[in-house]
Amino acid sequence: MELKHKTPLLDELESGPWPSFVSDLKREAISRKTNEKGIDYQCPAEMPEDLLGVVELSYEHGRTHWKHGGIVGVFGYGGGVIGRYCDQPEMFPAVAHFHTIRINQPSGKYYTTEYLEQLMSLCERRGSGLTNMHGSTGDIVFLGSHTPQLEEIFWELTHNINQDLGGSGGNLRTPSACLGMSRCEYACIDTQALCHYMTNEYQDELHRPAFPYKFKFKFDGCPNCCVASIARSDLSFIGTWKDDIRIDAEAVKAYVGGELKSNAGAHASRDWGPFDIQKEVVDLCPGECMAWDGSKLAIDNSNCTRCMHCINTMPRALRIGQDTGLSMLVGAKAPILDGAQISSLLVPFIKAEEPYDEIKEVIENLWDWWMEEGKNRERIGELMKRQGFQKMLEVTGLKATAQHVKEPRSNPYVFWKEDEVPGGWKGDINEFRKYHQR
């Protein structure tokens, strides 16, 4: 079927084995053009076609043809909709405005087809028929709708689908979690429950911008960090444990004997030779806390850093401990401005049990500090660097521990507080001069 715009450059992205977004866009373009179901589209049927056209123009020019959004949204919310306008509206009228709607995904991204169909029907009728599954932060994204449809979409979402928008702008962004205990034996905490709880607890912070800048929560069930919390969230929640790794000695022998495949079979497409527990597990342990005497594996748990390597390598023989909780780390962000940051450890261990009061206390203390002291567009990771780790301990009421640092400072410039030094800073010059001439 002939489409509205010729797309010779994009057409080259239809070949090759990987799923082509171009083929998929064309499919939707045809679906809307033919409209076999007779849908009364509330946004132009040509949206996918005009999107193909505008992207083709970008492929020709090597430049984008989108402008920044301006203020669009739904009444009473300061986030969830990102305005977007095309800079060639006459050529591509169907996508002249093409606003993004972020929809808060269910924790762990499980779906029923019934629920997805409800969303798709809405996206088809009142949007462009295009989505992102999912946006970088985790939202379900309706890609492109017109301004008059925003309130209508929100109304249908809340009234008919029992579903709210996600975050954007200077507020709590849509929290996200790994699949956690639902299908992973490494999960130290119920990430989905914690994520869902916190999302609901902080709805006001999510929908109404009151922060200096964005703030992200991500919940990882174990130190493997599958949702990248340590790199991608202002506050990273990472499951961990305090007691001993559980060992099934018979299963260890089965790995050594080759009956079980190392790393759950993750290296199966290549012959790496027979499994060598000494070389592949014991020698790679960063805590150097493991020993293998030829028949028995011993772990000195007091020197274990819970890196997950041995457990990942022999999942049927080794299991996480049972005294589980999470570590909280603060301040990850992309490079603007002073460079990228990975989160820094603030709370080494905290229990994760409803109603999560201790966790909420840390969160709210951090927010109070950041809302008071943070500059416009300053992430909490930058505030932490500007005012120092000590300040963060002070505002959260947490005590410094050696776990907070990789190494102690190598300069002696300690900024002592007056009350830490006996007698304070009010010296008596006359008393001093009694013993020291001018």
């Binding site: 589209y41 779906y111 798709m120 009142r126 029992n162 960090c225 497409s269 603007i336």
Partner: protein, 383 residues
């Protein structure tokens, strides 16, 4: 196209309004076998690339078939996903953090029909709709940003380079011959919505020219103080310029201080910075987020410039393929790309990968730069 009201009354926006209800509960969407064994999983195994089994204390098993996807996805495609999930998985499915889709079944005999069905579905151009893979020591799907499909500051497209790269790396999506998992990410400008800064391989769009100033319209279209405040390096000053014999308010940019982030353009549409020749691709490698063996680490810039070359970005995909092949041949089992580079030394990394080292790759941005220089006589000679 007659307007159809949802029930919303624009004259009374608060009437019957529902707000702050949050997302639907995940518990509604868990497949029965998952719900039954929640928190009671014993172990898992990757049966073949893209196919996992998880075994619970109860003895129940859940088999997962993981497939790749373009994250830009249409209603028609998602309906096809639904059709598959209805046919094989009792109407349940899930998405992964890295834009893969997981179809789960509760017995082994359901796996093969599901796989056959998934692999039989092809696009018009011949590509797989549902390629199976993305597990274990291989290349999984690329997480990425919007690019030319939907963003105002990108230096490159996102969906296109991702498609081109995954075509080149396809065999490593469907197999597990790597020393460890290889996570590729793409961000289309240095604001990094995609937070690619801790990826094994990061593809980054980068502008190389300061904004062009549309003086005539700047004061009319922008709040000048906001544009000035948006600049992270304080490169923008208020200024007066002559346009058509008239003195008007505008801004001036200290081009030497500009880091091409586009934040001013976000605030002020009269300061565009996209440029066909200026915009390019940067490759960064060796980052990781997992705490496994070594601590999480940042990706490092190893190629400061590759041409932004649509529709298939051959220079970029060639460079990535080369780095991955050298890594696959040289690294130890379990060693992530960054761990390997650190073990052999970055000077050896450049030698082995045949990448040119230029002055652009030496950090000169603020304090952290010093800590990346070599305060030692220990180094390796390279050819």
């Amino acid at each position: 196209m007659a307007f159809i009201s949802s029930g919303y009354n624009p004259d009374k926006p608060m009437e019957n309004r529902i707000t702050d209800i949050g997302p639907r509960s995940y518990e509604e969407f868990l497949p029965p076998v998952i719900k039954k064994n929640f928190g009671k999983w014993l172990y898992h195994e990757i049966l073949e690339p893209g196919v996992l089994v998880h075994v619970a204390e109860s003895g129940d098993e859940v088999f997962t078939v993981r497939v790749g996807a373009a994250r830009l996805m249409t209603v028609s495609h998602i309906r096809e996903i639904n059709e598959i999930a209805d046919k094989h998985c009792d109407g349940y499915l899930r998405f992964t953090t890295r834009n893969n889709i997981e179809f789960m079944v509760d017995s082994k005999d359901k796996v093969e029909p599901l796989k056959q069905d998934l692999l039989s579905r092809k696009q018009a151009g011949g590509g797989f709709k549902f390629p199976i893979g993305g597990t274990g020591a291989g290349v999984t799907n690329i997480v990425h940003t919007q690019g030319w499909v939907h963003c105002h500051t990108p230096a490159t497209d996102a969906s296109g380079p991702v498609k081109a790269t995954m075509d080149v790396l396809f065999d490593d999506f469907t197999s597990m011959r790597m020393p460890a998992q290889v996570r590729v990410a793409l961000a289309c400008c240095l604001n990094m919505c995609g937070a690619v800064h801790c990826s094994d391989i990061a593809i980054l769009g980068y502008h190389r020219k300061p904004p062009i100033l549309d003086h005539e319209y700047l004061d009319k279209m922008c709040e000048i103080p906001l544009a000035i405040a948006a600049c992270p390096t304080a490169a923008i000053k208020p200024g007066k310029v002559e346009v058509g014999g008239e003195t008007i308010k505008s801004v001036s940019v200290n081009n030497d201080r500009c880091m091409y982030c586009g934040n001013c353009y976000t605030m002020c549409p009269s300061m565009p910075l996209a440029d066909t020749e200026g915009d390019c691709i940067v490759l960064m490698v060796g980052g990781k987020i997992s705490n496994r063996i070594s601590m999480p680490k940042f990706s490092k810039v190893v190629v400061p410039y590759l041409p932004n070359n649509p529709p298939r970005w051959p220079e970029t995909t060639d460079a990535i393929k080369k780095i991955i092949e050298v890594y696959a041949a040289d690294a130890n089992k379990y060693e992530r790309l960054g761990e390997w580079a650190e073990r052999i030394g970055w000077e050896k990394f450049f030698e082995k990968c045949g990448l040119e080292f230029t002055h652009h790759l030496i950090d000169d941005f603020r304090d952290p730069a010093y800590f990346t220089w070599r305060q030692s006589t220990q180094f390796k000679f390279t050819k």
